[in-house]
């Protein structure tokens, strides 16, 4: 409050019959009361004397130009995902992904376009990342590589099982090997198979203390909910799965603070939580109970950037100690399913992808991946790497990663590299003839077909 208003307040109070202010007892009343401010603005003399240069305020001059960006506008531009380039050539003969062709061996090394509704759903769950190269091509297409086919087969087999089963896996691999795009492919398959897709696009957003958090009373260890994140999360779920959820209706009684129509469709139910921050978390739990009830479709529950939740978060607890990521309710919900503590009664897949870039240290996660590799090689006993008992470690992360299937993603094979290079050339982005020599060159330079590096080497750095 500026000082003059404070003085005014004192004066009015004295005039309304309250105890007289100190001004009345003072021997004289100063014409101008002393300022609270200690800055030297009043002491500043007028214009500079002759021969002295005035200091120009460059910053003020710069700020005055034009309209300042609205809050969030610059970030929105940074995070914008463009999925089409009208300059790129239409690739003739490019087929859209077909539910029948998904798991077929013949679709190996082929590019497939993503159908429009699937693209909309994937966009709603933020499966596309701004760092990926979607903006260069006419339409969003993906390479069907060997591991994609394996993944598709796993999902097809899961759907065929008589007794539903929950499969849990972690996608690991070097930077740029296509882990996030593999998640995207899993989501695309799930959307086409009419599964329910629930995706946490970036675990970093949950743990970097950029979103509000509040303690959940009566929990030990103390749990925290992130209301605004969950509200947005519910909106994403409702939008992406609208086709499936609009056909499903509420079937249970839920103890909520608002009256809810008994046969409301599940997408509208999720929207209720998206609109009210206080209701977001209770409605998420109720929605989850509905989705895992009898007769519901399988669920694909995914999370990207797993490294960020296998450690302490950036939040501080009441005791001013960092909050473990597993004490954040939504993270805990995912980790329970990933570790197998909770299962999906209607079957489904719980997947997480590690991050290769901007990678926070998580020694537990590294160990878990090494252990899984050892198990795949058939090692037992002491040959399997163990945590050094004398080293202080994160026991909770270790337990949650104890028994996991690790899907190690390596570089592309040469055939697959040729498939994607031909797509680049057909799109007009790669201005070279794709022959054996070029494929060999690009494959080698990209560290043995690391697809991110392949794209960098063929398109970005050498246009």
């Amino acid at each position: 409050m500026p000082p003059s208003r404070g003085i005014l307040a004192v004066a009015t109070r004295s005039s309304t019959g309250l105890p007289k202010s100190q001004w009345d007892v003072l021997p004289f009343r100063p014409a101008q009361p002393a300022s609270f401010s200690t800055t030297a603005c009043l002491a500043a003399s007028g214009p500079p004397r002759k021969g002295k240069k005035a200091i120009r305020n460059l910053k003020a001059a710069r700020q005055s130009a034009g309209r300042p960006p609205a809050p969030g506008e610059r970030k929105a531009l940074r995070k914008r995902v463009v999925l089409s380039n009208t300059n790129a050539l239409e690739v003739s003969g490019l087929e859209d992904l077909d539910a029948k062709a998904i798991g077929k061996e013949s679709s190996r090394c082929q590019m497939f376009g993503l159908p429009g509704p699937v693209v909309d759903s994937l966009r709603a769950v933020e499966a596309f990342k701004p760092t990926q190269g979607w903006r260069m091509f006419r339409s969003a297409s993906v390479l069907w590589r060997e591991q994609s086919i394996r993944l598709a087969q796993i999902m097809t087999d899961l759907a065929k099982l008589k007794s539903p089963e929950t499969r849990r896996m972690v996608l690991a691999g070097e930077k740029g090997t296509g882990k996030s795009v593999m998640l995207l492919q899993a989501m695309a398959i799930a959307f086409m198979k009419k599964w329910i897709v629930i995706n946490i696009p970036d675990a970093k957003d949950l743990t970097n203390a950029h979103t509000e958090y509040a303690p959940v009373p009566g929990t030990s260890p103390q749990q925290y909910i992130q209301r605004s994140y969950v509200a947005n999360f519910l909106a994403q779920i409702a939008k992406a799965n609208a086709g499936v959820l609009s056909q499903l209706q509420l079937s249970m009684q839920h103890d909520l603070s608002i009256p809810v129509q008994s046969n409301i469709s599940l997408d509208r139910f999720a929207d209720l939580g998206a609109k009210d921050l206080d209701l977001a978390w209770p409605i998420f739990l109720s929605l989850w109970a509905e989705l895992t009830g009898p007769g519901r479709p399988p669920i694909l529950f995914t999370l990207d950037n797993l490294n960020f939740i296998m450690r302490h978060s950036e939040y501080l607890g009441r005791d001013l100690k960092p909050v473990h990521a597993h004490d954040l309710s939504l993270v805990r919900h995912f980790v329970d399913h990933l570790s197998g503590a909770r299962t999906l009664p209607n079957g489904g897949l719980v997947m997480a992808a590690t991050t290769g870039s901007n990678k926070p240290s998580s020694p537990i996660l590294d160990l878990a991946i090494r252990q899984s590799e050892a198990r795949i090689q058939g090692l037992t006993g002491e040959a399997v790497p163990q945590w050094d008992p004398y080293r202080p470690g994160d026991e909770r992360s270790l337990q949650s990663m104890a028994d996991l299937e690790v899907f190690d993603i390596k570089g592309l094979s040469r055939d697959e590299a040729r498939g994607i290079l031909e797509y680049y050339a057909a799109s007009g982005m790669l201005r070279q003839a794709v022959d054996q020599r070029l494929v060999a060159e690009k494959w080698t330079i990209s560290g043995g077909g690391i697809i991110g590096e392949l794209e960098r080497g063929a398109l970005r750095m050498r246009p």
């Binding site: 130009a65 034009g66 960006p69 610059r74 970030k75 531009l77 940074r78 463009v82 380039n85 009208t86 300059n87 790129a88 050539l89 903006r135 260069m136 007009g428 982005m429 201005r431 070279q432 970005r460 750095m461 050498r462 246009p463």
Partner: protein, 325 residues
């Protein structure tokens, strides 16, 4: 010197007298005056090998016409050889092949064997030469039997020359990696933005491809934009040459690399004055790319800078003859 000397000796000249050279033709070339005395007509008794000739055909025809009372050819004007040969059968048979060839195919009307229009030296767009354009492999005998090494087997430029130059100009604090990333970002922006609509007032370089071809070849796009706005010259201020402490401005032509460098500097200046719309890294690259598009569309202020230099160059043309100190 005594009187007893003979008379011949007394009149002997210091320079021996030679008989005067009398040509059988009249030399008039160096004469700036007329002297009837010296206009000696060749004496009829002395005849050179070319002198006993028939009159010119036109003269002959004129003489014949005069006899027959007809109107002969105008002797003031030359008669084209073709006209002469028209009526002469035997001359047509024996005329040189060059004339035969010229006469035979009757040229279509309106076509000329020579050009009456001044030809401009065409400015051509240098096609970006990239490393991927494989040179003709010339193999030479190798020291190692069985292995043939191409003659051009050496370290080549990894990038297009202009891309290389612009990358280096983008670089700050020696951070080449950042500059390369920015360069890639610029070219990607050019690839994904709609084709430019060039303005007729500020056309692109003659011979440049149609605008719709540019986005898919971003290197060429950048080359066309930079080369179109690159100045042809710079102004060197020669101090004291004009006298009175005034600098004499002298236009100096620039080489291709120098021209491009100046244009890129201007474009980078203009880009740094643009406002950053997004946040995070890559903002500057985006601004440079937008400036390049503005150049291609004739909207950029860089064109004015080029115009100022060219105008100054024209007015300072007069100073070109001044001696450089």
């Amino acid at each position: 010197m005594s009187v007893s000397r003979p008379a011949q000796a007394r009149f002997r000249a210091a320079i021996p007298i030679r008989p005067r050279f009398r040509p059988n033709f009249v030399i008039r070339s160096n004469r700036t005056f007329s002297d009837a005395k010296d206009d000696a007509k060749p004496s009829p008794e002395v005849k050179g090998p070319n002198m006993d000739q028939l009159p010119h055909v036109s003269e002959e025809a004129a003489a014949t016409a005069k006899i027959t009372g007809e109107k002969g050819p105008d002797l003031q004007q030359g008669t084209p050889i073709q006209e002469i040969l028209q009526g002469d059968k035997s001359a047509q048979e024996h005329m040189p092949k060059v004339i035969k060839d010229e006469i035979k195919p009757s040229n279509p009307k309106g076509s000329r064997s020579f050009s009456t229009s001044a030809r401009r030296p065409t400015e051509t767009i240098p096609q970006p030469t990239t490393a991927r354009q494989e040179p003709a492999v010339q193999e030479t005998e190798s020291l190692i039997p069985g292995i043939r090494i191409p003659t051009d087997h050496r370290l080549r430029q990894r990038y297009d020359p202009l891309v290389h130059q612009v990358t280096n100009l983008l670089m700050r604090d020696g951070k080449l990696g950042v500059a390369q990333r920015n360069m890639a970002e610029i070219l990607n922006h050019l690839r994904t933005s709609p084709p430019p609509t060039p303005s007729p007032q500020r056309p692109l370089l003659p011979g440049s491809p149609p605008p719709s071809h540019l986005p898919l070849n971003p290197t060429l796009y950048m080359t066309v934009a930079i080369d179109s706005v690159a100045p042809l010259l710079r102004i060197r201020a020669e101090r004291g040459a004009a006298g009175g402490g005034v600098a004499l401005q002298i236009p100096i032509p620039l080489g291709q690399r120098q021209r491009r460098r100046q244009a890129v500097q201007w474009i980078l200046d203009a880009a740094s004055k643009r406002k950053n719309r997004g946040s995070g890294r890559g903002g500057f690259a985006q601004r440079v790319a937008e400036e390049l598009i503005a150049v291609a569309e004739g909207r950029s202020g860089v064109w004015e800078r080029r115009g100022v230099v060219h105008k100054l160059g024209v007015s300072a043309r007069v100073n070109l003859n001044s001696k450089r100190r």
